[in-house]
Amino acid sequence: MMTCQYFRANLQPGTTDVGVLEHLRLCDACLDHAMGIDPDLFFRSLGGTELVPPGGVDAFVGDVMSQVRVRNAETSFAPRKAARVWQRLAVAATVAAGVAGASLVYRFEAVVPAAQPVRVLASASRVVPARPQILATKSFVETYSSHDATIVEMPNDGSDAKIVMIFDEKLPADL
């Protein structure tokens, strides 16, 4: 460490000299003198010293290492945990696929009405009942409005099923 005499003779404001700062941080006698030269050294004087945690370095290192060993013991189970995660994912994927498949089947059945026995009336003996497969592939029309259409409704006996035939030249060919 440099002497106090050398320090006082060479101290410049705004110094970053390692030797000067080292002296400033260790020598109480020169601290007050340094303040008169450069007050910014006021807080700089705090640095540099080797600080030791309460209880000492050995106790500190011992604490850290014991915690590391505990964590090591915990993480030694990690591979098994990882496998379990994959198993869980596989089970979840299977369940999700099952649910998705079931919902698809349910939707398909909702669009395609169950086949019902068609009663062929005497007045409509030539009417061929539509096949469910055809209904599923054709566009579905919910509302229809036209001045040129001819609508023929097949009479029924109070059952829910009703056959309606629409004859309209302006309708698109695929309907």
Partner: protein, 206 residues
């Protein structure tokens, strides 16, 4: 001295592995290498934590947390960068997080405020005592944000250059300089308000 004799003198490099070599050993599962690293860096880590946090027990807990994080994240360290920069980044992140949560937990008056002197004689000559500088720092640095304080500590007490601090914090050098400028300004204002006898040192030097 001949080259032959020089070869016989053990150098520090041959006796103690450097930080990067230790990291390599730790990655291979060498627990003793980690213990060596902890022992080597304890003072540095604890010192920075203590300066930023201002409390020995909290600083000790945070330092231990830093080392545990270090142990868990050592795989992420890229040896092409300086180990200390990476370590400092971890310390500042953990310390700043702690300070932020602490600030939100208790905005109560710091016990250090008892040091505030309301009356002082303008003619009184002031002798700066090292212990008192530390107490003054703990009081006046309370006005700084955790990040400002960390930057101030790294610059003024750990003697890191702005470029090094920027690397540690992952920000631009100009940002570091701005924080430093504001930190100094705020601290001088606090010093003037709470410790006018010391603030006079700055006024005298103008």
């Amino acid at each position: 001295m001949t080259a032959e004799v020089l070869r016989m003198i053990p150098t520090n490099e041959s006796v103690e592995p450097d930080d990067r070599q230790l990291v390599e050993q730790i990655r291979r599962g060498d627990e003793e290498a980690f213990e060596t690293l902890v022992r080597r860096k304890t003072s540095k880590v604890y010192g920075l934590c203590y300066r930023v946090i201002g409390n020995g027990e909290d600083a000790k807990d945070i330092s231990q947390l830093v080392f545990l994080k270090l142990w868990e994240n050592l795989d992420k360290y890229d040896p092409q960068y300086a180990f200390d920069t990476w370590l400092y980044r971890m310390v500042t992140n953990v310390a700043i997080d702690f300070m932020r949560s602490k600030q939100s937990r208790d905005n109560a008056v710091n016990s250090n405020l008892r040091l505030v002197k309301t009356a002082f004689d303008p003619e009184q000559t002031v002798t700066v005592q090292r212990k008192e500088v530390e107490s003054v720092f703990n009081v006046v640095s309370n006005v700084l944000s955790p990040k400002q304080k960390a930057i101030f500590v790294m610059s003024e007490m750990e003697d890191l250059r702005s470029s090094e601090i920027a690397k540690v914090l992952g920000c631009r050098e100009s940002t570091v300089r701005n924080h430093l400028f504001n930190a100094r300004k705020l601290m001088q204002q606090q010093l003037k308000r709470r410790f006018p006898e010391y603030a006079r040192l700055w006024e005298q030097s103008r």
